[in-house]
Symmetry: C2
Subunit: 306 residues, 2 copies
């Protein structure tokens, strides 16, 4: 299958590399890593075993990629103003667009530009950071859940799930995109923002009783707001939260993507992870006061808020 | 009147200097400023006019001060473990102890050691920072409200108010210490912690619509918790909050004491400004979720939380 990766950060490079290793025809739109990957290929370090791809199709302009069967979108949501323009050259009649971006609103953008029936959304529970240019460090986890934007379970998402699983990526085809998106937000909303704001990794926040409790309270706010959305079945509450806290404790001192963004002086994915979820929660009369407070503190500390 | 100042930070030095200038016999327990003040006296810069005190009674040991009529306590509440020991040599039968420290719980400590009838509490609405050793910069405001710890309005606090006013310090004798303490917390709780946490001064937080709204919401939580306490009359809500926001906007980019503490790597007054108020609010079934969240974030980011 001919696959184009738009947004080759840690997530795009890691999944793209696994797909290429499994024999897929993968084409990466590159920015930071272009020179390094053209020169020396792409290296993945992972507890599942390191590997190196000697020959990688890397481009600086998506027009050079041309039409593909599958676009894998890993772009930071704060760069969504460029998303449609970057993606358009890859889209033909039968193209599927799979966005694994964080937060809410990304599928809507792709659907408005290319048609809702082309769009699949997914959530990746992946601990992964970029290293030196040309190197990606896979640290932990990595499973993906995907679902159609415009309808329930389809042969198309089941076929995509098989493709990922053949590449060694645990992948589940799901019927309810809204549900898997909100389920992922239960993790992203507390950890991404609190780590970015405080400069403390996940393990430090979980080791402090006050912030561990705060994280659980924020998760409850997100679950309550999720369960006001039109879901096929409600999210489980306390049991799910307890499992997420345990799972994250096991990840040690992980730095979520938003913390990495702030440490690097990059913008934060505030709209996708906070702004849109807060709007959708408020629209169904379920305010999330702690989430709104975190959003306010992150917004005020962005450099452009000066 | 013979006056001893325990805790000669910005507040203690400023009010002590004004009292000495008005002819009172003031004795300062000094730490950081000892050498500078012994050598060259104490300088106050102020929009009301700068002044310099050439001869200042400064000590490194409170035993050298001995008994006084009035102890003015300006110690940081995080140093309260030393408060009683530092104060004891100054206390005789007729001594009055006036604490202008931040937050809740300070009078209780003094009352337990020296007797409730000796203790007067007060709140200072003062914008003041220390400069070079031996120099205090008064920036804005400066009024004090004082009240007995153990009873209502008394001749003693009215006499103290006259003493302060004669020194050019606006001072009001009040009947209800709990009320003035909580009223001050309506300002301290949002501004001290948010500025310390974000590293942004008051003006920046008020200029950002999200944090301005957050500040107002936190103020509402404090007013609601205050009005569950045994007050002689309830705190006013929205009108008071609007006036505080206006007043603070007029102060420009002020750095509250807790922000200065964090920038200097000092501990924060977390118990007095957050811990005890949260306990007293919870004891009367009025949780303050945003205040608790701020407390958690400040606690987690303290160096000793490592």
């Amino acid at each position: 299958m001919r696959i184009g990766v738009i947004g080759s950060g840690a997530l795009g490079l890691y999944y793209g590399a696994l797909l290429q290793r499994a024999g897929q025809d993968v084409h990466f739109l590159l920015r930071r890593d272009y020179q390094a990957i053209r020169r020396a290929g792409l290296t993945v370090t992972s507890p599942h075993g390191d590997f190196h791809l000697e020959r990688v199709n890397g481009y600086q302009d998506s027009a050079q990629i041309g039409p593909v069967d599958l676009v894998l979108v890993g772009l930071k949501a704060y760069a969504n103003a460029q998303l449609i323009e970057l993606t358009r050259p890859l889209v033909a009649t039968g193209t599927t667009l799979l966005t694994l971006q964080n937060g809410l609103g990304n599928e809507d953008l792709l659907a408005a530009a290319f048609g809702a029936d082309k769009v699949v959304g997914g959530t990746a529970f992946l601990c992964c950071n970029r290293g030196q240019p040309g190197t990606v460090h896979h640290l932990d986890q990595g499973a993906i859940r995907i679902a159609e934007f415009a309808k329930g379970l389809s042969a198309k998402v089941e076929h995509l799930a098989v493709l990922f699983k053949q590449a060694g990526i645990p992948c589940e085809a799901c019927a309810d995109l809204t549900r898997i998106r909100w389920e992922k937000l239960v993790w992203n909303i507390p950890f991404n923002g609190l780590c970015a704001l405080t400069g403390l990794p996940t393990g430090r926040l979980l080791a402090c009783p006050e912030t561990r409790q705060l994280i659980a309270e924020m998760m409850r706010e997100v679950v309550a707001a999720a369960n006001r959305q039109p879901l096929t079945e409600p999210l489980e509450g306390e049991g799910f939260i307890a499992r997420l806290l345990d799972l994250t404790t096991g990840m040690g001192d992980y730095r979520p993507s938003m913390m990495v963004d702030r440490l690097q002086g990059s913008p934060l994915e505030l709209d996708a992870i906070y702004g849109v979820p807060l709007e959708r929660a408020a629209a169904r009369a379920m305010p999330m006061p702690r989430v709104a407070m975190l959003h306010a503190l992150l917004a005020a500390t962005e450099p452009q808020a000066l």
